[in-house]
Symmetry: C2
Subunit: 428 residues, 2 copies
Amino acid sequence: MRTVSIGLVGCGTVGGGVVDIIRKHREDFRRRCGVDLEIAKVTSRTTSKLKAAGFSDEQIVGSYQEIIEDPDIDIVVELIGGNDVAVDVICDALKGDKHVVTANKAVMASHGKEVFEAAEEHGMQLGFEASVGGGIPIIAPLKHALVSNEISDVLGIVNGTTNYMLTRMSEDGLEYETALKEAQEKGFAEADPTADVEGADAAAKIAILASIAFNSRVTIDDVPTEGISHITPADFRYASDMGYVIKLLAIAHRTDGAIDVRVHPTMIPKTHQMASVDGVYNAIYVTGDAVGDTMFFGEGAGAGPAASAVVGDIIEIARHITDGCVHTLGCTCTEELPLRPIEELVCKYYIRMTVTDRPGALSETSRIFGENDVSISRMIQQRAFEEEAELIYVTHAAKEADIRTALHQLSQLDIVKEIGNLIRIEEH
Amino acid sequence: MRTVSIGLVGCGTVGGGVVDIIRKHREDFRRRCGVDLEIAKVTSRTTSKLKAAGFSDEQIVGSYQEIIEDPDIDIVVELIGGNDVAVDVICDALKGDKHVVTANKAVMASHGKEVFEAAEEHGMQLGFEASVGGGIPIIAPLKHALVSNEISDVLGIVNGTTNYMLTRMSEDGLEYETALKEAQEKGFAEADPTADVEGADAAAKIAILASIAFNSRVTIDDVPTEGISHITPADFRYASDMGYVIKLLAIAHRTDGAIDVRVHPTMIPKTHQMASVDGVYNAIYVTGDAVGDTMFFGEGAGAGPAASAVVGDIIEIARHITDGCVHTLGCTCTEELPLRPIEELVCKYYIRMTVTDRPGALSETSRIFGENDVSISRMIQQRAFEEEAELIYVTHAAKEADIRTALHQLSQLDIVKEIGNLIRIEEH
């Protein structure tokens, strides 16, 4: 059986996991999958780590170019992440007639088109299952098992950091700052958590999923994004009283010939299958015209899960190489669906504001909703402090543009101290 | 683009769904997947239905042999189900150099070996995603995306009929008979519900999943199976009080070089992701050494979901045919792991019995557990009727063989009127 040679670019957490799996299961893969995998060359910022990991001086090279130029390398595995060098690594490798496996969501969500063009042009395979949902199989199911469906909806809890924080805030009443600090201490959040808590990480992932689900290119820049930093324990209490939980949802809907895609804190019914996806777990909820509702659940991060997906892609390509029958399923973006501006979104909204506690506060605020065609399904008034009251409005289905106008007008009122939060409600 | 010709054997509920999907999305599949699918020939018991479905006299044939003998047919789709003719249809088709797609769990769970041998021998592809979990992608993820893992556990809620009944019994206190009647009225249960309620359907499915997950052939005859007919509303109340729900679980564990596989009612913690899988929905919970815990959720039955999986398999094969590069991934049973007899099972047990309400009843019954090395973690006594009391024992981890001896000895006691139920507890 021909040995399939792998060149590893980047050997941090995930890379280390890939090395472990291949070393641990090489014999199993030979027997069970009929492929022989060998990590022939590796490059990483910290060479010392590579030596410690048992790589020889011959295997350790100083640049990714050396790997791409090595005629014996079959598959280049890009695990340095980020959006700068990684694009070059991937594109250069494909143009150098190497198959590529990557876990890089940033590249796939922003440079997908050029990457796929390079793969197509050179007849190379590109695996990126690990770019979304860690070890959860979701890219492959969308491209294969579910391909007979017209997918109408993709809902994702695709960021473990924020889901962990929201779970702690919801179940134990933690403040945002406390939850963030704890997540950082536990290693679930980076020192700079911006990409997670502000939603950019989730935006990249839903861009990738929407592109596949709807066969139409969506990039991270197309995704209106809100983070979780405005959510307070009070919001969780009100949500729970109304039968909802709050999740940072990455949402993609196919709506009459257009794509509605966004990332923001969302209230979903406690009875929804996604409501019980807690802690660092991820889940992707996919609805198709034939299959109905499906959900894919698992660990969205960590060395093991991500490496599981990376090695899964490697084995798939290695099987084809070994069979001498490379089957390239490249870009599936065959349509060009327009994006629906979020201003045209129609859904229910939860709005929390603080007002001066005096006669007329309720009527004045309510009037503004009415004047903007926003009808109210539920309202709660609570005394916050001596002089202040907290108003909770839950709307019937309303237009985002009208809500924004109403909020702007409300913020102009003397009696309105603060618009505390706005959270969209997803009933699907 | 070359048209891929399909011969449909059996055109009932699922077959009708397949016809609908291909007619509805043929153009989409050409554009998005690069394959052109045509149902060229079809055979079914009731020809009238086929005419009504718009098939011409040329397309409708009287026997499956005519389809297999047609040199223009690329893929034979077997949807007659059952274990008699279906085996011949599948094997004859493969031997006739046709690729095969089937939804037939009975054949795959009992004749998997010979079917795969025929496929291998003739270099044909065999798709059977629809045989387990309806439209839920689970066969493909196990054979591809998760293949880098050593799978340790597979837990399945794979029978929608019983899951619907258990949900109604649990949430609304229905008796077994009432729940069954309702399921039949709603069309969730057959007139003869035996295969569902006695667990045979789930046994076939876990045999298929275990074979793939552990790379070792498991047949339906290898699966110790218990149905749900002994469960009473009382069992649900006790379970709930102790923090459990009751599900009919199809279980497969890899335990020190052996396979532990079985189907029976099982108590699982309310906090387990599977606990919220209710109604006719299915879910398969898979644990791997790298990926950790994953779950695949969706509709386990019905025309749409099953047809979604069948057409997914068809498109996959059609892609390969169209590329002129047929990639056969046949039998993956490369190991021969022994099966662990259920007598050697070690787990916690819930036992409900009715005893004569007189002094000593408790000590006598407790003594027998003690004498058989079964230690009790929890015990509840309740007055049932005038003269009778209901005893609930929950054991610590105990050996199935010891439990069976204890129950046999208990049944010999005069004071024991009835051993009402035994339910195994899965903490994983």
